[in-house]
C-alpha cells in the first residue's frame, strides 16, 4: 500500500509554504465558486485540505499502479497498430486510473469540468507521478496543452476541447519540432493553408520527435504566412485526431522514457483550428507553453531524483562489504549526502518557481475580468520577470542534478546497479533526456543569463537576505553573503569586458553561481520554517561555496584568446 505523497513529508512542507495562502485566495477569487460547485473550496484551510487529499489519491495511484507497471512498460513500450499508437498495457492502465480519479485537467477552470487547482499543486502531482514512472509522467503531464488552450484560444475552441480533457480524459500533444527545426523553432516549415469558404485551416508537412504524437488533441506549430522564414510567420493550431488526417510514420527507439511514444508524424490536409491570433504562434503561445513544459521537466527531474536517491539509500543500508553496511563508509555516505543536498535544493527551487508562475498567471487571468490595481499590476510584472528567469534556471539545474543523482545512485550499487535487475538503471536512462528536451541546458543558459546581466537574480538574492533568521542559521547567511559579493564582482568583471563571446563562454558558470546562491538561500529559509532542514542547508551551502570559488578562479584566469582554440 505505498503512497508516494504521504511517504514524502517534504511535499506537504512545500505545499504549505506561507505564500500559498495568497496564491490560493487569488486563484479562487476569494472562494466565490463555493455556492456554484459542490467541490469548490470554502476557504483556504478547506482548499489545502482538498489539495492534500487529492495528492494522496495521486500518491496512491502512483505507488500502487504506476510504479508497479514501470518495469513492464519499460520493456514493452508503445507500438503502431493500424496507424494508431497503442500504449503498453501498463501505460493504458495508469492513464485509465488517473482518468477515473478525475485527474486530467487539474488546473482547468471548473466551468469546463476542471479542478481549478493552482499550478503548484499540479506541479507537485507531476513530481509524484514522475517518481513512479518518468516516461508516463510525460503522457499525463501533457494536460498542459489544455492550459494553453484555456489561456489563448477563443471561447468556441475552449468550450469544444477543454471538457474533452477534464471530463473525458483526452490526451494531449504539442507538435513543435521538425527534422530541420529542433532547438531553432523559427525554422518550422509545416504549412497551414486557410480555406476561406469553410473557415478552416489545413496542415501539411512533417513533425518529428513528438511526444505522445497520436494524442486526442494536438497543438501544432505551423507556418501560416506564405513567404515568411522566421518566427513571425508561425501560428498555433489545434488538431483533433478524430479527423484521422495524420500518418504516424514511426515511433522512435529511445535510450529511456520508453513508455512515452515519441512519434514522427505526417500531416496530410489535416483540418485544424487557429488558436488565438495569427503570427503569435511561436512568439507568444509556444513560449508560454514551453515555459509550462519546462516547469514540468523540473518536476519530472525532481521525481526521478527522489526515486534514485531512495534506491541508493536503501541499497547502501542493505549491502554489506568488509563487515559493515556500505552506508558507513565515508566515500559512500558523502555521495549520499551530496545527493540529498542536491535533491532538496532542486525541490525548493521547483516550488519557488511554481509559486512565481502561479502569482503572475493568476493576476493575468484576473486582469481579463477587471482592471488590476496599480499595486497588483506591479506585482504581476515583478513575478512574471522572476518566473521567466527562474524557469530556465530550474530546468537546467534540476535536470543536471537529476542526471548526477541517477549517476551516483548507480555508482552506489556498484556492478549490481549496472544490471537490469535493479530499478536504478532505468532511472539513469530516464534521467538522461531531462537536460535535453524542452530546450537543452545550453539553451536554458541563454534564457537565464538575462537574470544575471539585468541584476534580477542579485536583487532576489538580496531580498532573501533581508528575511529574518533565528540565530542558529546566521552562520549560513554569512557564507551566502560572501558568496553573493563574490558573484556580484565576478559578473561585473565579465560584463565590463564588453565581449559578447566571452559572456557567452562564461554564461553557464555565472548562471550556476547564481543558482547555487539562490538554492542556498531557499534551503536556509526552509530551515527557518523547519529545523530538520538545517543540516541539508549546511551541507549544500558548503559545497556550493567551494563550487562557486572554483568558477571564480577559472573566470579570472581565462584569457579571451583561450576560447574555442582547441575545439577541433
Amino acid at each position: 500500500m505505498p503512497n508516494f505523497y504521504s511517504d514524502n513529508k517534504h511535499l506537504k512542507f512545500h505545499l504549505t509554504h506561507p505564500l500559498m495562502k495568497k496564491i490560493i485566495s487569488l486563484r479562487e477569487r476569494d472562494f466565490k465558486e463555493k455556492e456554484e460547485y459542490d467541490y469548490a473550496p470554502l476557504d483556504f484551510e478547506d482548499a489545502i485540505d482538498s489539495y492534500e487529499k487529492v495528492l494522496e489519491i495521486v500518491g496512491d495511484i502512483t505507488g500502487n499502479i504506476i510504479a508497479e507497471n514501470a518495469v513492464s512498460v519499460d520493456l514493452e513500450g508503445p507500438k503502431i497498430v493500424d496507424n494508431e499508437v497503442k500504449y503498453a498495457r501498463g501505460t493504458q492502465e495508469n492513464y485509465d486510473a488517473l482518468k477515473q480519479a478525475g485527474l486530467i485537467g487539474m488546473s482547468l477552470p471548473r466551468k469546463y469540468g476542471g479542478l481549478n487547482f493552482v499550478n503548484t499543486a499540479f506541479v507537485m502531482a507531476n513530481e509524484i507521478v514522475a517518481r513512479g514512472d518518468a516516461g508516463f509522467s510525460n503522457i499525463w503531464g501533457l494536460q498542459d496543452c489544455a492550459e494553453t488552450i484555456n489561456e489563448f484560444a477563443d471561447e468556441e475552441i475552449k468550450e469544444k476541447y477543454l471538457p474533452k480533457f477534464a471530463l473525458e480524459g483526452a490526451t494531449g500533444a504539442m507538435d513543435l519540432t521538425e527534422p530541420d527545426a529542433g532547438s531553432d523553432l523559427q525554422a518550422v516549415q509545416l504549412k497551414a493553408t486557410y480555406d476561406k469558404d469553410q473557415d478552416i485551416w489545413y496542415l501539411n508537412g512533417v513533425k518529428r520527435f513528438i511526444t505522445n504524437g497520436d494524442a486526442d488533441i494536438s497543438l501544432v506549430l505551423a507556418r501560416s504566412e506564405e513567404g515568411t522564414v522566421d518566427a513571425r510567420g508561425l501560428s498555433l493550431f489545434v488538431y483533433d485526431r478524430s479527423h484521422k488526417a495524420v500518418t504516424i510514420r514511426r515511433i522512435e527507439n529511445k535510450l529511456g522514457i520508453k513508455g512515452s511514444p515519441t512519434c514522427e508524424l505526417v500531416f496530410k490536409n489535416a483540418p485544424a483550428k487557429l488558436v488565438g491570433s495569427r503570427k503569435l504562434g511561436l512568439i507568444k503561445y509556444v513560449m508560454s507553453l514551453m515555459n509550462a513544459a519546462r516547469l514540468g521537466i523540473g518536476a519530472q527531474s525532481v521525481g526521478i531524483a527522489e526515486a534514485a536517491y531512495r534506491e541508493a539509500v536503501k541499497y547502501a543500508q542493505e549491502r554489506s562489504q568488509f563487515g559493515k553496511e556500505i552506508i558507513e563508509f565515508p566515500a559512500v555516505y558523502e555521495m549520499l549526502s551530496v545527493m540529498k543536498g542536491k535533491l532538496f535544493a532542486i525541490r525548493s527551487l521547483l516550488y519557488e518557481t511554481s509559486r512565481f508562475v502561479d502569482i503572475y498567471k493568476t493576476y493575468q487571468r484576473i486582469s481579463e475580468e477587471r482592471t488590476l490595481e496599480p499595486e497588483e499590476r506591479k506585482e504581476m510584472k515583478q513575478y512574471q520577470k522572476l518566473a521567466d528567469s527562474y524557469t530556465p534556471l530550474l530546468k537546467m539545474t534540476a535536470s543536471e542534478y537529476c542526471n548526477q543523482i541517477a549517476y551516483d545512485a548507480i555508482q552506489i550499487h556498484g556492478g549490481t546497479g549496472y544490471m537490469k535487475d535493479f530499478p536504478v538503471e532505468r532511472l539513469y536512462r530516464d534521467a538522461r533526456i531531462t537536460s535535453i528536451y524542452e530546450g537543452t541546458s545550453q539553451l536554458q543558459v541563454i534564457a537565464a543569463i538575462k537574470g544575471v546581466t539585468t541584476g534580477l537574480f542579485l536583487n532576489r538574492i538580496k531580498g532573501y537576505g533581508r528575511e529574518s533568521l533565528p540565530p542558529e542559521l546566521v552562520f549560513l547567511r554569512k557564507i551566502l553573503m560572501k558568496m553573493t559579493e563574490e558573484y556580484e564582482m565576478t559578473v561585473q568583471n565579465v560584463v565590463d569586458m564588453k565581449d559578447e563571446e566571452l559572456l557567452d563562454f562564461h554564461a553557464r558558470r555565472l548562471v550556476e553561481m547564481a543558482g547555487n546562491i539562490i538554492m542556498g538561500n531557499l534551503l536556509v529559509l526552509d530551515a527557518k520554517r523547519n529545523p530538520d532542514y538545517e543540516h541539508v542547508a549546511e551541507a549544500f551551502i558548503k559545497r556550493a561555496e567551494a563550487n562557486n570559488k572554483e568558477k571564480v578562479y577559472y573566470i579570472h584566469n581565462t584569457d579571451p584568446r583561450d576560447i574555442g582554440v582547441i575545439k577541433q
Binding site: 500500500m1 459542490d38 467541490y39 469548490a40 473550496p41 470554502l42 478547506d46 485540505d49 482538498s50 487529499k53 487529492v54 489519491i57 496512491d60 495511484i61 486510473a97 477515473q100 480519479a101 478525475g102 485527474l103 487539474m106 479542478l115
Partner: protein, 291 residues
C-alpha cells in the same frame, strides 16, 4: 433500461495485512488500536461490482450499509468518494459483542427498512473474522436467493442476474432471480480509486455524532447540502428485539485462545538431482499428498 437499487454491505476492519509486533494483545485478542482501520478488501471489490452496474445503467443507486462504532462512518465516506450515492451507519452500544448471527439479524432489519431493492452485494468475508457467514445469513433472514464467491457479474436485467463464481477447481456461471444477495470473491477486480471531485464534494459528510464532536466550522454546510448527512440507525430505529443482539444474541463464545508459533518439526534436504526428485514424488504419492 432503468437503473437498479443496490445495497453494498461493508465493514471497517483492522488492517490484518500489515501486522506489526503489537497486533495482538497478551490475551490473544486483536489490538485494534495498533492496526489502522480499513475498508474490508472484499467489500471494496463488491462496491466495484456495484459501480460497474451503475456505469452501465445510469439511474442506478448504490447505498452502503455498515455496522460498527462511530468511526466506521469513514468507510461510508470512502464509498462516496468512489461513486456510491449514500450510506447508512448502524451503530449502538447495544450491538457490542455481536457475533455473525446477531450482526446478520441487525443488518437484515436495516435492509428491510431500506426496501425495495434489487440487489445486495457484499464481500465474501472480512479479514478480521474470516467467517464468510454474515452475507449468507442475511439472505436467509430476508428470504432471498444468494450467490456466493462471485468473481464477475456478467449481465443483469430487472428479472435476473448472471454471475460468474470462482470455485476451488474452476468457474461456474449461474443465474439468479432478483432481488438477490451476492458475495464477492477476492479474485474479482480491484475497486477503482477515489475520484477527486467526489472526494472534495463529500469530504465533509458526517454522521450526527461526528457533527456533535466536530471542531471545524463546516457544520452549517449540512443545512444547504443534505447529501452530507450520513444517517445513523440505532436499535430503536430498527425496532430490533434486544435479546437477539449483542452478547445475548450471540451464541458464539470464545473458549480459548492459543498462541501458535509455526515451527518446522522435521525437514528434509533435497538436492536438485533426478533421484532426489523421484524419491520425493514417490513419497508424496504414497502418503496421498498428490495423486
Amino acid at each position: 433500461m432503468k437503473g437498479f437499487k443496490i445495497i453494498v454491505l461493508a465493514k471497517q476492519v483492522p488492517d490484518t495485512r500489515n501486522v506489526g509486533k503489537d497486533a495482538m494483545k497478551a490475551n490473544g485478542t486483536v489490538n485494534r488500536a495498533a492496526l489502522p482501520a480499513v475498508f474490508n478488501p472484499e467489500d471494496l471489490k463488491a462496491l466495484e461490482q456495484a459501480l460497474r452496474i451503475k456505469d452501465q445503467y445510469p439511474g442506478t443507486t448504490i447505498t452502503l450499509l455498515t455496522m460498527g462504532p462511530g468511526r466506521a462512518a469513514e468507510i461510508i465516506r470512502e464509498g462516496l468518494y468512489r461513486g456510491a450515492d449514500g450510506g447508512i451507519l448502524i451503530t449502538d452500544r447495544k450491538f457490542a459483542g455481536s457475533d455473525t448471527l446477531a450482526t446478520s439479524y441487525a443488518i437484515s432489519l436495516a435492509i428491510k427498512k431500506m426496501a425495495p431493492y434489487d440487489m445486495i452485494l457484499a464481500g465474501r468475508q472480512a479479514i478480521d473474522g474470516d467467517t464468510a457467514q454474515v452475507g449468507p445469513q442475511a439472505a436467509e433472514k430476508l428470504g432471498i436467493p444468494q450467490v456466493t464467491y462471485c468473481e464477475e457479474i456478467v449481465s443483469i436485467n430487472h428479472k435476473k442476474v448472471t454471475v460468474k463464481r470462482r470455485l476451488e477447481r474452476g468457474v461456474e456461471t449461474m443465474e439468479a432471480p432478483l432481488p438477490v444477495l451476492i458475495t464477492v470473491h477476492g479474485s474479482a477486480p480491484e475497486c477503482r480509486s477515489r475520484n477527486a471531485k467526489l472526494l472534495m464534494k463529500y469530504k465533509h459528510a458526517q454522521t450526527i455524532t461526528e457533527m456533535q464532536e466536530a471542531t471545524d466550522d463546516y457544520i452549517e454546510l449540512h443545512d444547504s447540502r443534505p447529501y452530507l448527512d450520513i444517517p445513523e440507525w440505532t436499535v430503536a430505529d430498527l425496532n430490533a428485539d434486544e435479546k437477539w443482539l449483542g452478547l445475548s444474541g450471540s451464541p458464539t463464545k470464545v473458549k480459548k485462545v492459543t498462541n501458535v508459533v509455526f515451527k518446522a518439526k522435521e525437514s528434509k534436504v533435497l538436492t536438485d538431482s533426478d533421484e532426489d526428485i523421484e524419491r520425493l514424488i514417490i513419497e508424496l504419492l504414497e502418503n496421498h499428498t498428490i495423486g
